[in-house]
């Protein structure tokens, strides 16, 4: 912490950063953006150089070819079906997992006895690596979008559930007593005290669970599917098309970043 602050004040770059410059783009000044662009170009340049002179492009692909592949996917429109499948499955799993997790978290958070009874079972499921369930879900739900949603929902559910549960348990009991003395019914206490004060925890859970939703979807797509970004990665790798793998990875990063920043903006609007 101390080392960090002293480094900041000593660093001439920091002076050009967000705090001292009002011309900011996404929260940081143009100086930072110039450096970021430099780093990006540096990486791409090194990559290109490596593929030209040092390492066989068979292993690492070629940035120009990656760009061409992505451009080609969009130009021919073949990417849309894959994009659509992955994003749709991610969003559905995210919404479903969040809804189930919030409800279960609140119910168990308010129900001491039930929580005690179920505790070892939940702990056991929680410690299980969720991707290990992919074959089972594919067996049950087939290779369509359902098995992807099932796996991703399961992962999201546990994260949201644990956060909601902790949030519900940490509600100030005096706030609850105050409302009880005003004659509030149980449902009113839940709506007006428990849920609002657990909301911060719920949002934290939602933010960390977006990557988990994508992991679930992509893993299931890689195992058995004929659509989706995960399928694209698997298919390209199957044809030893390294540039194709990288192209699909870039698309995946783009989706994840967009979803994350959308949620962050929603959170800011919700929580003061």
């Amino acid at each position: 912490m101390t080392a960090d602050t002293s480094a900041r004040t000593d660093d001439p770059l920091a002076a050009e950063g967000a705090l001292h410059d009002d011309r900011t783009i996404f929260g940081v000044g143009p100086g930072i953006w110039i450096w970021r662009t430099t780093v990006l170009l540096g990486i791409l340049g090194l990559w290109k150089a490596a593929s030209l002179w040092w390492i066989d492009p068979f292993w690492i692909g070629d940035p120009a070819e990656v760009a061409a592949t992505i451009a080609d996917w969009f130009a021919r429109g073949t990417i849309w079906i894959h994009l659509w499948n992955t994003i749709w499955a991610t969003l559905i799993s995210f919404a479903l997992g969040t809804a189930l997790g919030v409800v279960t978290g609140i119910v168990l958070g308010l129900n001491n006895r039930l929580a005690l009874v179920l505790d070892p079972f939940i702990g056991a499921f929680y410690s299980l690596p969720k991707v290990a369930l992919a074959p089972l879900f594919i067996l049950w739900f087939g290779i369509g979008i359902e098995s992807k949603i099932a796996l991703a929902t399961f992962g999201v559910f546990f994260l949201i559930f644990y956060n909601t549960y902790s949030g519900t348990r940490s509600v100030d009991s005096e706030l609850v007593d105050v409302l009880r003395l005003m004659g509030a019914r149980r449902g009113q206490i839940i709506r007006k005290v428990v849920v609002p004060s657990a909301l911060y925890w719920i949002f934290t859970g939602m933010r960390v669970s977006i990557p988990y939703a994508m992991i679930g979807v992509v893993v299931a797509e890689m195992m058995a599917s004929n659509k989706g970004i995960g399928y694209l990665i698997q298919a390209a790798a199957g044809q030893f098309n390294t540039s194709g793998v990288f192209a699909a990875l870039f698309v995946l990063v783009a989706i994840s970043v967009i979803l994350q920043s959308t949620l962050k903006r929603m959170e800011k609007a919700f929580i003061r």
Partner: protein
């Protein structure tokens, strides 16, 4: 003849603290007349707050019974307003929404309940802060808001557990004045727990002195200071000083054996 607002009949409260059993208060017999202002003073840990929790119906006595208007107290007792030292405003609601929450729970229309909340906020001197959030208010202002929130549903009685304990001396005096002015008008029964003798004598008709744990009623002292009282001048009256001393003598006698024990 009205029945007493609260009656304690042989009330004992025991807690388990691990393997140990703690007796918070023992064999309390006490009547609180309707419309009176009664203060309870005693050393910390003497079961004063326990008594209020039983009045509020948040705790059931281990033995004996607590009556409210001649009836056993409901659980929870929704006919009383309860104020503690803690800050219990909901941080995600504006002040007027906080104050109006009991009316909202009862299903009153928004325009009507907000209008009533604003009137009460004016009574406690918080006009202009209706739309603020609790975090934007000072400690004293939040106290006023909590008082308004309690008064808005016109409880038949109020239980106050060191409600001004966290305020500085000047602010506490201001709050005493605000509270007394409202009480003079409404005459709701108030049961006020404090460890501050001056506060008890300033506000109450009667001061009940508790002994150290296990708490028992040690003495009941009538405070015959005339009303309406001027909180800012009261402390200079000779009678005020005398009464304070009377209360202190009782407290002191109760404290000595506890010291010897320790």
């Amino acid at each position: 003849m009205l029945p007493p607002a609260f009656q304690f009949r042989g009330v004992t409260q025991r807690f388990r603290d691990g393997a140990r059993q703690v007796v918070a208060c023992r064999d309390i017999n006490l009547d609180i007349e309707a419309g009176s202002f009664v203060a309870i003073v005693g050393p910390s840990g003497c079961g004063k707050s326990t008594l209020l929790n039983m009045v509020a119906g948040l705790l059931t006595p281990s033995a004996g019974e607590v009556l409210s208007d001649g009836q056993p107290v409901a659980r929870p007792n929704t006919s009383i307003g309860y104020l503690t030292q803690r800050d219990t405003l909901l941080p995600w609601r504006t002040i007027e929404d906080n104050v109006a929450i009991s009316l909202e729970l009862a299903g009153m229309r928004k325009t009507e309940r907000i209008e009533r909340a604003r009137r009460l906020l004016a009574t406690v001197g918080l006009t202009g802060f209706e739309q603020s959030y609790p975090s934007q208010l000072s400690g004293g202002m939040r106290r006023r808001a909590i008082l308004a929130r309690t008064l808005i549903y016109e409880p038949k009685a109020m239980a106050m557990d060191e409600p001004f304990g966290a305020l500085d001396a000047q602010l506490r005096m201001v709050m005493h004045q605000v509270l007394l002015e409202i009480w003079e008008r409404q005459r709701t029964t108030i049961l006020f727990v404090t460890h501050d003798i001056g506060e008890a004598v300033t506000l109450a008709d009667r001061v009940v002195v508790f002994s150290a744990r296990p708490g028992t009623v040690k003495a009941v002292i009538d405070i015959d200071l005339p009303r309406p009282r001027d909180v800012y001048r009261l402390r200079f009256l000779p009678r005020f000083v005398e009464l304070q001393e009377q209360v202190w003598l009782q407290l002191e006698a109760g404290m000595r054996p506890a010291e010897a024990e320790a």
